[in-house]
Symmetry: C2
Subunit: 203 residues, 2 copies
């Protein structure tokens, strides 16, 4: 994985106007416009790093759960895991604390242009979000439409309801527009998702 | 790792009186009294399972962070991680949500009888607790004195102050008594640490 130093502008080639109105650029096919090549996970990790260093919030991605079976301890060298298996996660990928509030969310990308397939959310994630909602956590999803370059922060309550609706296989773009706070990628943070959370808290 | 079904009494051999007054037993050397052989991590995991199933709180242990280098995908069989390394964690082991509040804690055991060595807390854990405190999370440690069969839930602020005191190498048992809520192991949950948290919240 390429490491992006926080706030690095190395790969940035657009002028200041684009910074202020990034969405205006979305039809210019000649500009490489995929946020310095980051995928959604990298964008969120970068944002969390920024929020952490600025004392704005403490949010971490949970490590991939792995069942370790065999470890070698070579002399004068660090331990090597020689056999391990991926385990099913029992939670979402991200949680943390922001101004005393518990945050919990899952992030997903799609290359679709008109809807987000609900099968991308796994049952354990839905159940976990339901449980955290019962405990009055602030629970949401971040969905990125890669080809549209659009990002939606959606309350988990809406996603859960859609997921639990029989025969409903996706959330349409319009449903997401109507039920989310849309955010734009930028710098510091790369993806200012807490702006959307402020909006949820104010409601 | 042995799996303990929630609330299993299989290995339990004591009578009901002991259940109600577990601490009275602490000098009886002939009784196996280590909570059905569980270590502190298992006790907390069992308690978290109980809290989860009873909709009391959602707290999970974070997986061990592992850097995966090589994975085999054998035909008709699940993926096998063939080379991986332990990574340094950047947080504490446990976090979650309880009645809208963010919980964050670290759990440690000692076989000492009179003090708890501060070197058992790593710098990244102390820094993480400091950050979560700034965000108004409820941060604490659970310390078990194995040979005394005593458990202390201590506010992170006290532990951080002790850890940051020059030339201070340990917290004495008396300091922990004076600055903690002591809890007793039992059943359902195995370790009712949220009772101590209620106490913190009430203050």
């Amino acid at each position: 994985m390429v490491k992006y130093p926080t706030g690095s502008l190395t790969h940035y080639t657009k002028d200041q106007t684009d910074l202020l109105h990034p969405r205006k650029q979305k039809h210019r096919k000649d500009v490489v416009f995929s946020d310095r090549g980051m995928n959604l996970e990298q964008q969120i990790n970068e944002s969390n790093k920024y929020y952490l260093l600025e004392d704005i919030a403490v949010v971490h991605k949970k490590p991939t759960p792995v069942q370790i079976v065999k470890v070698d301890y070579p002399k004068r060298s660090r331990a090597v895991i020689k056999e391990a298996y991926f385990r099913q996660a029992s939670t979402t990928d991200y949680n943390g604390v922001y101004q005393g509030k518990y945050l919990d969310f899952e992030a997903k990308e799609t290359r679709n242009k008109r809807s987000f397939p609900l099968k991308n959310f796994h049952e354990h994630q839905i159940i976990h979000l339901e449980r955290c909602l019962k405990q009055k956590g602030i629970c949401f999803t971040i969905i990125r439409f890669v080809t549209l370059n659009r990002y939606f922060v959606t309350p988990a309550s809406f996603v859960i309801e859609a997921w639990r609706t029989p025969h409903k296989s996706s959330m349409t773009l319009q449903e997401l527009i109507d039920n989310s706070v849309e955010i734009e990628s930028g710098f510091q943070p790369t993806l200012p998702y807490l702006d959307a959370i402020d909006n949820f808290i104010d409601r």
